[in-house]
Symmetry: C2
Subunit: 306 residues, 2 copies
């Protein structure tokens, strides 16, 4: 089984650090290869470079880099390598996020092990959010010396166990990128964004979108029984986020979903027949991370004969 | 962290097999020791022998044995040993049940590995119930040759993340067995049952109750952040089960709970502000296993700094 949910690293540099966009392509190729992925496509925008990877996405701004990878990739060694290469003194804020995995636990380092390695290059705090015996997330958050700025604002909507009709359509070998774009209704929802997308074989879809300072990325893994879609962006407008969230939930009809919002206003969305659980972290530098988990009611549990 | 949720094995013998209660105490001591537990207390009743174990309970009837163990114990080797000792030809129905664990996954065999070992002694089916990326259970169900009877009826109520006031009270070193019995209200709910109970150090409580053909057992692990109570019985009356379930939920106020009912009428309980998911298995011998998961709404997620 392919594990769609992403690990994420995010590094912001101190003001005055060398711009990351000056780095040659081979720098990013090497970084991406070090976690077992490869670059499939690159788009240069006015404010950032957006890469589609074999396993998710990479965004590079002058003073920030954010990489998402799914599947069996391991991302914390990549963060360690990045901090070592850029120099710990250049780092303003660094974070690493990982969901509890199920299938690959044997091959992956535990979060505790990752924490102790990460702390050899930068001092930071680790958090577990959510009950250990259920769906939960891990977060590592570190600040550079003498840094008093904020972590970049992000909004993640992670949707699990999607509507069977939509995923069946997305698994059709005849589907085109244009059809997926139309399904996702980007033309209406995010008309200004320049898109770069990729259809995987036998199925799966990734798209990066950039408009001025804003980006978004969507990754769809429409597997039977384990379907998953992630949407993330740095759009800040509560109205816009509400509209995008409602559109995604309406299209994919997930059985459960998470919202992870960093330095965003709380995004309330009430869905009839869904239960809601929540938790917030406020870091020593006053960054806020808000976790919300939604679970739809009257779900037919998955039952597999082994 | 101690993992409270139990693994369970259950073996029913063919009519005419040698009665299990004839076996000497050392037979059960050896069996229990083989999975890393020990016998703390024994009660001989008219119909069965009920043991309190260092990690849960063991019930022995003439033609049936059921053992529950929690923590780091491994119970499938025990089932294999039991079938080998009793003789596969003597077995009518055998089952093994296990919840997904979180902490001990590295040290425990995977369910797939257990399945292939179990199938070397008895042919049976394995099931996974619940989504792989969330709370789920594993079940192995096997029938002896030429057996056309039914698996024993059982009702399990597994409660996770309990009310803080009750668990705090149950962690008090001064608490007595009588106080716990009173808290659980056995006098009113199950007045006919003969009880045998045990308080663990530093905390934790187990009780076995037997009345004629009926038994129940309750195991409480009142840990901070990981509290858990299991209740199980072979009581068949829907009214009685409804009353007992309501009393347990009202006392422990769990954030989430599972009901696993084997060959029972569906037990409906609607709790305001809880979402419900469900699944049923019907075996080749027409045994039914009904799984229900309930999740209370507006839960504050657990957040731990690591």
């Amino acid at each position: 089984m392919f594990e769609g949910s992403e690990k994420i690293i995010d590094v912001s540099l101190q003001a005055g650090a060398r711009g990351l966009r000056e780095r040659p392509l081979v720098f990013w190729q090497t970084l991406v290869a070090s976690c077992g992925a490869e670059i499939l496509s690159v788009e240069h925008h006015d404010t950032c470079i957006a890469f589609i990877l074999s396993e998710s996405s990479l965004f590079v701004w002058d003073h920030r880099v954010r990489m998402l990878t799914c599947g069996e990739t391991s991302l914390s060694p990549c963060l360690i390598k990045l901090i070592e290469t850029l120099g710990q003194s250049q780092v303003a804020v660094a974070s690493y996020q990982r969901k509890n995995e199920y299938r690959y636990q044997a091959s992956l380092a535990s979060f505790d092990q990752e924490l102790s390695l990460l702390r050899q290059v930068i001092d930071g705090k680790g958090y577990r959010v959510g009950h250990i015996d259920s769906h939960h997330h891990y977060l590592f958050l570190a600040y550079g010396d003498n840094h008093h700025g904020a972590a970049p604002a992000t909004y993640e909507l992670l949707m699990h166990h999607l509507d069977a009709d939509v995923t069946e359509r997305l698994r059709q070998s005849s589907i085109t990128k244009l059809q997926v774009r139309t399904l996702l209704n980007f033309q209406t929802l995010l008309p200004e964004f320049t898109l770069d997308d990729h259809l995987f074989t036998p199925f799966g879809y990734s798209v990066n979108g950039v408009y001025q300072q804003e980006y978004f990325t969507v990754h769809i893994t429409p597997q039977v029984n384990h379907s998953y879609v992630s949407f993330e962006t740095n759009i800040m407008s509560p109205q816009k986020l509400k509209q995008l969230t409602a559109a995604m939930l309406s299209l994919f009809k997930p059985e459960s979903w998470d919202v992870i919002a960093v330095n965003q206003q709380p995004v309330e969305h009430h869905v009839a027949e869904a239960s809601h659980s929540t938790c917030s972290i406020v870091s020593e530098q006053h960054d806020t991370v808000q976790f919300n988990h939604y679970q739809r009611n009257d779900i037919r549990l998955c039952c597999e004969t082994l």
